[in-house]
Symmetry: C2
Subunit: 96 residues, 2 copies
């Protein structure tokens, strides 16, 4: 029982953020906010936590003249996320 769960993903919101970024390769702040139904402050802090681990990176630009902040998962992030899911999968399989 020495699964290596990643503390950074022990949160529904961060788990979902990574899930979205692993599947979409880039997603912007507003869309993420709508998708996850969280306040902007809350989302920002979870994003920052993942950024601190270097699991995601930020890309700021302008679309038209509006600021647009896009997030992408880093390679490290994808790897860590997959490792975490593997652990979860293993735990799930033990149930069957």
């Amino acid at each position: 029982m020495l699964e290596q769960f990643d503390k950074a993903f022990e949160s529904r919101i961060r788990l979902q953020i990574m899930s979205v970024l692993a599947a979409n390769e880039s997603y912007d702040f507003s869309s993420l906010k709508e998708l996850l139904e969280v306040t902007d402050g809350n989302l920002a802090s979870h994003l920052k936590a993942l950024e601190k681990e270097a699991y995601i990176a930020v890309n700021k630009s302008f679309v038209g003249r509006k600021p647009n902040t896009r997030y992408v998962a880093t390679e490290d992030g994808i790897e860590a996320f997959k490792r975490h899911l593997k652990s979860l999968e293993k735990l799930i399989k033990q149930q069957k």
Copy 2:
């Protein structure tokens, strides 16, 4: 993205406790403590959290003359746990 993750399982330790109890139908305090490598105080509090949700139940008895506290997952607990794992599985499958 309206997965219904269960807050009670958003913790590596509680996730593992439920995993053990779903697979073993009963497990005692000391063995659980060794398996999960946690302090007894910490384990007790996680167990209590699961008990509060009625996801596990306690069974105190004596083995020889030694007190033996066994934990079992309740039906509700198993159900909630399975639901949670389904959500996780769904999230994992989205990745593939």
